[in-house]
């Protein structure tokens, strides 16, 4: 295990170096997210002010604000652009650099992206969590911070990231076979935005639909960590959802291995 980590640390380093190069990209990504976050806020503010009930589907307006901010944070933490990177490497042939080394293709990606994240996300996660706590305290009048809960949230985010990572890798391989990556990627983001509760909390959906969506892998992305942070899950229910995340992670991990085997055979490295 230790040796394994040693093998992959260079990829972490490479990831950290990349961030320096593509900082502007990242800033735009964050800006886009922040705007989406503001839009959500105004929509929900309008919904709540026109409604008569103080709480809708278990969410009060202050809780909705916390939900929106947490969604924003979680989205950033678990973001993965594997689908795009896989496609690019295959297209321009630099995939051979990974192929001729005795390392696992997926793992090199994973560690590279982790390096990427280490250098950006810690910088935003800490202030954001403090912000969330301040909002919660001000809005409810009592300090709600719970260290154990934060740990659970971090665990759940880690699982969510891995689900997202392997899902994206799978998507990248499939897109490689069917070739229309760009359009498919756009569609994917919209669909996931809806299915993962980023647009509307899943509890706002009709019961039957909510049940289905909660089981789908997309809820394991942002929704589960946010619900955990907001202490909407407890006891057995909590562990069920974390277990479900672990299940989807393993599922996509296995699927990515299979798809890799299948697509490496069809690879036609260009250039040279």
């Amino acid at each position: 295990m230790k040796r394994k980590l040693k093998i992959y640390t260079p990829f972490v380093n490479a990831g950290i170096q990349e961030v320096a190069t593509y900082r502007v990209n990242w800033i735009f990504f964050m800006l886009g997210n922040a705007i989406a976050c503001l839009v959500s806020y105004f929509i929900w503010a309008a919904v709540y002010s026109s409604g008569t009930k103080e709480s809708m589907n278990g969410f009060t307006m202050p809780q909705m604000i916390v939900y929106i901010v947490l969604m924003f944070l979680t989205n950033t933490i678990i973001a993965s652009d594997g689908a795009y990177v896989v496609g690019e490497e295959i297209r321009e042939g630099s995939i051979i650099m990974r192929l001729i080394k005795p390392v696992s293709y997926n793992a090199t990606f994973l560690f590279q992206e982790l390096g990427n994240k280490l250098s950006t996300e810690i910088a935003i996660a800490v202030p954001m969590i403090i912000t969330v706590e301040v909002i919660r305290t001000v809005l409810s009048g009592v300090l709600q911070f719970n260290a154990f809960n934060l740990l659970l949230y971090i665990l759940s985010c880690a699982l969510a990231y891995l689900v997202n990572f392997y899902f994206n890798i799978c998507f990248g391989f499939i897109a490689f076979v069917i070739k229309y990556l760009w359009g498919a990627n756009m569609m994917k983001n919209v669909v996931i935005g809806f299915l993962s509760g980023t647009v509307i909390p899943l509890s706002f959906l009709p019961d039957a639909l909510e049940k289905v969506f909660l089981f789908l892998p997309f809820a394991s992305l942002n929704y589960t960590p946010v619900m955990i942070y907001m202490e909407k899950y407890s006891g057995a229910q909590l562990w069920y959802y974390i277990g479900l995340q672990a299940f989807w992670m393993l599922f996509f991990f296995g699927l990515s291995k299979l798809l890799w085997k299948a697509s490496v055979k069809r690879l036609s490295v260009q250039g040279g």
Binding site: R3, I7, P10, T21, S94, I100, P102, V103, V269
Partner: protein, 334 residues
């Protein structure tokens, strides 16, 4: 060591008519076309041998190397290297080989070279003491010292190539694949790289397969070469063998005062030679004649020329390897 049998690779190319209309059409009804890049190639390489691979642009050299290194899966046929099949069990296979693609680097673009080697040491599990020895050795033969602390992206082409070759040798591979390792290098660097390859081959019995467009690489490094053209093998043997098989072309050169010497001599009619076997290039008051000496012996050519006109200077050269290859590339091999 290396067994290649009936290796074949087909690519599917999607063809698209030009323009927007073509794009739309191909979106709904993609047409694809089969390209045979490598067509039933077989050869063997013994342990410790250096094999040179030559052929015109697009012949399929790089495609063969990609199959041998496990990057591409053959459409049919097989290759076995050191008893292993490259596409099965990739990770354990690539540990035993070193690969350099001249046109692209395998080093980390942003890392200083020294760190890159540190990384490779971990990846290939090279023990500390042999790593130290190895680095000292590579430093000596490839002279990496001048740029070892610079990031890879700042290296010049020749420096990068030396760095890449060193990287491919760090783990003492049993087989080394080099796809155009001397592309774009100056004469001194080329020479250094050839010496390094030679040295490693002698010292460690490393089997080497290299492709190149520079025949001097082959002349200096390998006793044997394989020539491919349009995906098929057209020659397999030594350079001397190629010379004796295709090297009947001689070059006659003379100076004369006679105007229109070429017309006066009329070699083609006199010896009934086709344009494949004869070319005449008058230039000022000198004439260059290339002819096939297996049809017209050199002595006949000389005596005919000397009897017909007055010449002031005359000599006959055997064809050099460049000339032979040029003819083979232009006309194909029968």
């Amino acid at each position: 060591m290396i067994h290649v049998e009936n290796l074949r690779k087909e690519f599917k190319k999607t063809v698209k008519d030009p323009g927007l209309k073509g794009s739309l059409k191909s979106l709904f009804k993609p047409k694809s076309e089969k390209v045979v890049a490598v067509d039933n190639i077989s050869f063997k390489v013994a342990e410790g041998e250096i094999l040179g691979f030559i052929g015109p642009n697009g012949a399929g050299k790089s495609t063969v190397i990609k199959m041998l290194t496990g990057i591409l899966t053959p459409t049919s046929g097989s290759c076995t290297i050191n008893g292993k099949n490259p596409t099965q069990n990739r990770k354990s296979y690539v540990k035993e080989i070193g690969v350099v693609f001249g046109q692209r680097t395998q080093l980390w673009w942003d890392l200083p070279l020294r760190e890159t080697y540190g990384v490779l040491k971990e990846i290939y599990e090279v023990p500390e003491d042999s790593y130290k020895k190895r680095m000292a050795f590579l430093n000596e033969v490839l002279e990496l010292d001048d740029f070892i602390s610079s990031p890879v992206r700042t290296l010049s082409l020749g420096q990068r190539m030396r760095a890449d070759i060193a990287a491919s040798l760090l783990h003492s591979p049993k087989v080394l694949f080099l796809d155009e390792p001397t592309i774009g290098l100056d004469v001194v660097v080329k020479d250094n790289i050839r010496k390094a390859i030679e040295h490693i081959n002698e010292q460690e019995k490393t089997t080497v397969i290299l492709t190149t467009h520079d025949l001097a690489d082959i002349e200096q490094l390998s006793k044997r070469m394989v020539m491919i053209d349009k995906g098929t093998k057209v020659f397999d043997g030594s350079i001397a063998g190629l010379k004796s098989k295709y090297g009947q072309i001689r070059e006659l050169y003379f100076e004369t005062d006679v105007k229109n010497a070429a017309e006066v001599l009329g070699y083609a009619e006199h010896f009934s030679l086709s344009s494949d076997d004869l070319s005449v290039e008058p230039e000022g008051n000198s004439v260059k004649v290339r002819f096939n000496s297996s049809i017209v012996p050199v002595s006949d050519m000389l005596s005919y020329t000397l009897n017909k006109i007055n010449v002031s200077d005359i000599n006959v050269k055997g064809a050099d390897i460049e000339e032979i290859i040029r003819r083979l590339y232009e006309q194909g091999v029968d």
